[in-house]
């Protein structure tokens, strides 16, 4: 039996549930907003397996399950009252902590991959594990240095925030130069622009599922109906690097983003997401990703 912790309103969570159902694997879903509103939690830190979640007359002891599928998405901000927001945030923090230590297979322990919060360190450290190139990058508070970097990029440069807060990558153009003095008070991440298609590789344990995305815009996620999505067999050395990455990050599921430089065919690593929204890719892949997730969870 698989315990599934997530939000019914999260399409990625429900895609995982559908994958389990299609595979005929028994599971017990727990809707975290409902748990925050009317459920009970009891977490004895000296015995994580004895953690009990109770909701609607049913109690679930973590140690009684074979594995846990969880997506602890941030929901407190949408709570209708401050009390519920606090309950949700407290519950999420407590569950995230204990899921690090339960003696079960967990996909994914929520706190494992921390470096995604700071993009430059993330790219350097994880690129090293994969053995991949990364875009030439400059993080600076110095306007002249930024301008020198941008001018040195043969195919142009993009800029974006360095944190995990959502920012859209933007092509650096001459009008942006007048804003560079602001860097002194808040540095910005500049990168060489890699011209070529995007690739998303979903890694489940040691299996990789690739998709090539050709888009007329800089960030394919910003548009609908104009991107060209094609399945892609992941080259062996890339797949091996992805498997090393799941081992290094100690998470079984990653969404790994690359660009393929059109002029050279070089794969360039962008980032790896330990809570990937895989449902669209899964649908186009005929359910292969969710099938692999279900199989990994069932191999208890």
């Amino acid at each position: 039996m698989i315990l599934c912790l997530g939000a019914a309103a999260d399409p990625t969570f429900t895609a995982g549930l559908r994958g389990l159902r299609r595979a005929g694997i028994p599971f017990r879903p727990v809707d975290l907003p409902s748990l925050a509103m009317r459920g009970k939690i009891r977490i004895p830190l000296d015995s994580p397996a004895d953690t009990v979640l109770s909701l609607d007359g049913e109690s679930h002891r973590l140690g009684d399950f074979g594995a846990i599928w969880c997506r602890l998405v941030e929901i407190a901000f949408a709570a209708p009252t401050p009390e519920l927001a606090a309950a949700s945030a407290g519950q999420t923090e407590a569950l995230a902590r204990i899921l690090e230590f339960v003696p079960l297979k967990v996909m994914n322990p929520p706190l494992r991959e921390a470096s995604g919060f700071t993009k430059l360190l993330h790219a350097v450290a994880l690129g090293e594990v994969g053995g991949w190139q990364i875009p030439a990058t400059c993080l600076t508070t110095d306007p002249e240095e930024a301008l020198d970097f941008v001018r040195g990029c043969r195919t142009g440069a993009i800029f974006k925030g360095v944190s995990a807060t959502k920012t859209w990558a933007t092509v650096f153009e001459p009008p942006h130069e007048s804003r560079l003095p602001r860097l002194a008070h808040l540095p910005v991440l500049f990168q060489e622009r890699i011209i070529g298609p995007d690739v998303r590789v979903h890694v489940v344990g040691d299996q990789s599922f690739g998709e090539l995305i050709d888009s007329p815009v800089l960030d394919y996620r910003t548009v609908r109906g104009v991107n060209d999505y094609r399945p892609l067999e992941v080259p062996r050395e890339i797949a091996e690097g992805c498997t090393r990455l799941t081992g290094h990050c100690r998470v079984p599921l990653l969404g790994v983003d690359f660009k393929i430089e059109r002029a050279t065919g070089q794969w360039v690593f962008l980032e790896a997401n330990s809570m990937p929204c895989f449902e669209g890719y899964d649908e186009r892949a005929g359910g292969a990703i969710s099938r692999a997730i279900a199989e990994w969870l069932a191999e208890a």
Binding site: A36, K40, I41, R42, I43, P44, L45, D46, P48, E83, L84, A86, A87, A89, G90, Q91, T92, E93, A94, R97, I98, E100, F101, L111, A114, S115, F117, T118, K119, L120, L121, H122, A123, V124, A125, G127, E128, Q133, I134, P135, A136, T137, C138, L139, T140, T141, D142, E145, F149, G161, V162, S163, A164, T165, A184, H185, L186, P187, V268
Partner: protein, 259 residues
């Protein structure tokens, strides 16, 4: 030679350390933002990094990391964004900077997550007697509301929406230690030196903290016969914890930062 102490100006311990360093002839500046502080990190396609940290344009020679403050509480979206970016920029830059850093950020976090349960998993210490719940009760008088970690009176009425951590601690058996550079200080002992047996018992914990890059941290243990129960770990030791050992602890930190 100038030290950068990454901390908000309200961090008294950071300010006191900077004052101590200055009295020893080592200029040190406390800052949690950019302006006087500058960063520059270049990474090549092959991930070779060159990193500079500057203060008023001059190279910094060492960094004590105490964090940039509680940026998660900022309600204004623009300020919140700027705070998150500042945090992430310091994180990458100081992690990749080759100079001496006490409490260096890493892949594991701006500060590495230090959970007593992890150390308990090695079998060298026992875990805390602690329960997290939102209903009912548990033994213990040490009650905190999560996620804001505000202390509550054990007998205070609680709503069913209160998620609390209740720890059953024995103050008579509790001992608190500070790791500072190469030193481990027993803050309950007059001279700060752990006795031989005590030093042996807490050495694995100090070693674990140092392996995580934490050269300035404190932890609390309870000794029960031969059992060591690790009840708490923190990356933010406060000077209130070690008033009689302040100079020794700051000396140990300074030694790490001015090799």
């Amino acid at each position: 030679m100038t030290l950068l102490v990454i901390a908000p100006g309200s961090d008294e311990t950071a300010v006191r350390f900077a004052g101590f360093a200055l009295r020893q002839g080592v200029p040190a500046v406390v800052s949690a933002g950019f302006g006087r502080v500058g960063v520059s990190v270049h990474a090549t396609r092959d991930r070779a990094c060159s990193t500079r940290l500057t203060l008023d344009g001059a190279e910094v020679s060492g960094v004590l990391n105490r964090g940039v403050g509680d940026w998660g509480e900022e309600s204004d979206p623009d300020r919140s964004f700027a705070a998150a970016e500042t945090y992430a920029a310091f994180w990458s830059a100081v992690a990749l900077w080759p100079g001496p850093v006490v409490n260096r950020p890493s892949e594991r976090g701006f500060f590495a997550r230090l959970d007593p349960l992890e150390q308990a998993g090695t079998g060298l210490v026992e875990p805390p007697r602690t329960v997290v719940l939102n209903d009912g009760s548990a033994p213990g008088n040490d009650v905190y509301r999560i996620p804001e970690w505000t202390a509550m009176a054990p007998e205070a009425p609680r709503s069913r929406f209160d998620v609390v951590q209740i720890a059953d601690r024995d103050p008579a058996r509790s001992h608190r230690f500070v790791v500072a550079g190469a030193g481990v200080f027993d803050v309950g002992a007059a001279g700060g030196e752990p006795s031989g047996k005590t030093a042996d018992l807490v050495a694995p914990i100090a070693g674990w903290l140092r392996r995580r890059g934490m050269g300035f941290a404190d932890f609390t243990v309870e000794f029960e016969a031969e059992v060591v129960r690790l009840t708490d770990v923190s990356c933010w030791p406060s000077h209130h914890l070690f008033p009689h050992l302040e100079d020794r602890i700051y000396t140990a930190l300074l030694s790490e930062l001015t090799p």
